[in-house]
Structure formats: structure tokens, C-alpha cells
Symmetry: C2
Subunit: 208 residues, 2 copies
């Protein structure tokens, strides 16, 4: 097959670039590019420049390593948030997901990944030292480990637990259980088993 | 809901731009933007500039109005193509679709839409005059009408038919029928009815 299918190399180039995005094949890429081609030149420039500007000017918060517009992100500099609780997550996407629940008023710490020897990611590739420094110096009472429940997540959880233990900080992890709205019949056995082990006082559910 | 959900206005802006694309919601937009953020600055610039360059420098072929890198597109300037047959289509996308079949060796004429009074598109908004001039001056023997089988497509077909009749050119349209591989049971009645009316000699199918 000829790699250039279209009558314009500019079109071919744009489609190739869009088709590199995850979940976007050549057909969808063509549809998106032809859609943009119908917009005004200004709108297309706004689109193209939005991602270039983001990449060029993005700042990572020096405290929690979340994406930010300034040296310290809006969450870390927000005086109304609980500075004694830090939630440890893998990526900035997890921060957005947890923020959307509107149930957490503490701060975050973005590791930038999890320990995964198979992918060559060790503790030194992650923001673990800076987490330990925060726990040591910033009066943190509780660290919530909110990593994936995979082998790598468990490994990282355990590594962090060992590193943080000496500071006598409370270390918690997310409750795992049957999702709200799910029927027991469809829950997997491991989750359901964990839900039974970690059952809670019924009266606790009233506060929600 | 606060329109700015993220801790960075640059991220917010990029996500908003991506979410304007057809079929892309805010969640997918965020996924695409965070994917690009992991790429190198050069790759992100290539991506953003590919669409800006396309919009700025795109040329439409002065003969057939297909998208092109030069005044006359590769198809129109290809000496091995049959210049006596012109296939009339709505958009540049249709050109790509027909080219992919590798079954057509003639030229194209891109109307830029179809007559649609509901959307305020009349014959003068389309490349109809230039089609008539081509038929008049360029020794065209056959015009293939390859528009949608909608009310608007039929209207446009009929309008073109009336305009082209005086030039004694052969006017054809695409065969409609049961798709190859489809079972009769699942074909709609109008298509199946048309397939029976326009049945062809069995021996004709051998040449394909």
C-alpha cells in the first residue's frame, strides 16, 4: 500500500499526526482533520496552539508535582484545604478523578508512576524522596495510599509503607469493596471477600 | 459546575479545544491531551503545526476542487487517467473513499455539498457552473453522479441532469443494490426492490 493515500501531502501529514493519538485510527483521524479544515483559520490556530502552549509552558507544582500554572499549584496553595492529610497517587489524572468526587479536602502527592521492575521503573524514578521529605518536615498526620490494586501498586504501597513507618504517621489506603449500585451476584469474589472482611458499622453510612 | 475543573488553565484550555472535535467528549479530550503531554516538545509541535499548516496552506484544485498541494491536483494532472469520464461527488472525503476502491480511473468534480434549501444551500453555492464549463469545453463523454441517495441528493442529481442534458453527454449514476456479503433477509425493501429492477446479466459478474 502506498503510504500517501490523499491528494495532498499536508492532509496526509495532519492525518498521520492525529492517527498517532491513542484510540484514533486513520479513518477517525481523517474525520477530525476534515472537521477542523471547515473551521476558520483562527479556530484552527487556537486548537493547534492550545496543545503546543500547554507542552511549552506547563509547570509541575514543586510541592505535589501536580500540573499547575504556577510554582505551587492551586490545591497546595489553597488555605482552606487540610494540609495534614496527603493522598499519594500515580498520575495527575488520578488527582482530577479524586477532585471530581468532591470528597477529599487534603493535599496530593503525584508519584509519576509506580514501581515496576518489568518496565524498568524503580523507586528512584518516582517522586518518593520528596514525599518522605514532606512527611518529615510539613506536619503531615495521615498519608492515604491511593494506587492501583495491581501487583505493582501493592509493591509500591509496601515500599512506601516501609519508608514512612519511621515517621509515625497514620498510613491508610482506599476502601475496596462492592461498588455502590452493583449487585452482589456480579461482584468478583476477591472484592466481595475483602468487602466482608472490612465490613463497617451500619451507623457510619448515615453520615454520607 | 465550575467550568475550570483542572489545576492548570493551560490544561483546561487544551481540553476544551479537543472536546470541540466531533465525537470527542471531555473525558476523551483529557486522555488525548495527557497522552500528548507525555510526548517530546518536538512531537507536540509537529502535531499542533500539522493542522495549522494544513489550514493555512491548503489549495483546492482549480479543475476539480479536490484538496491539493498545487494548482492542479495529482488526479487531474495524472496523464494515465481517463479524462473523458468525470465522477461528481459532494466532498473531498468521497474522492478518498472512491479512490480507495481502486476501481475508477477517471477524474472527479467536487461540488462542495448538495442542494439543500433547508440549510440555505442553493445551486449557486456549489461548484455547478464550473462543472458545466468542464463538460462544455473539455471533451467529457460521461458524467457519473455519485451523490447521496437522500432527498437532497436526488434533487441535486435531477438539477445537474437538466443542466447537463443539452450537452449530449452520457449521464450515469452509481448502481444501488444489496451489498456484497449481505444476506437478502437483512436488506431493506427499497434497496432489494431496486436490485431486482436493475438486475444484470450473470455473465457480467465474471469480469470482476
Amino acid at each position: 500500500m502506498n503510504p500517501q493515500q490523499y491528494s495532498s501531502s499536508l492532509l496526509e501529514n495532519a492525518v498521520q499526526e492525529f492517527a498517532k493519538l491513542p484510540g484514533i485510527g486513520r479513518k477517525t483521524a481523517l474525520r477530525l482533520v476534515l472537521h477542523l479544515l471547515k473551521e476558520t483559520e483562527e479556530e484552527v490556530e487556537n486548537f493547534g496552539n492550545s496543545i503546543i502552549e500547554l507542552k511549552k509552558n506547563i509547570i509541575y507544582c514543586k510541592v505535589c508535582h501536580n500540573i499547575s500554572d504556577s510554582e505551587v499549584c492551586d490545591i497546595c496553595s489553597n488555605l482552606s484545604r487540610d494540609k495534614s492529610t496527603v493522598c499519594v497517587v500515580e498520575t495527575i489524572k488520578d488527582v482530577i478523578t479524586i477532585e471530581n468526587t468532591q470528597q477529599f479536602r487534603g493535599l496530593y502527592h503525584v508519584l509519576g508512576g509506580i514501581i515496576s521492575p518489568m518496565d524498568g521503573i524503580g523507586p528512584n524514578d518516582l517522586e518518593i524522596d520528596s514525599l518522605i521529605r514532606r512527611v518529615e518536615n510539613e506536619g503531615i498526620n495521615e498519608v492515604i495510599l491511593a494506587l492501583s490494586t495491581t501487583m505493582e501498586g501493592d509493591t509500591t504501597n509496601f515500599y512506601l509503607y516501609r519508608k514512612l513507618e519511621p515517621f509515625h504517621v497514620k498510613i491508610t489506603t482506599l476502601a475496596r469493596g462492592v461498588a455502590i449500585g452493583d449487585e452482589l451476584e456480579y461482584a468478583d469474589e476477591i472484592t466481595l471477600g475483602r468487602s466482608i472482611q472490612n465490613r463497617i458499622e451500619f451507623s457510619q453510612t448515615f453520615n454520607k
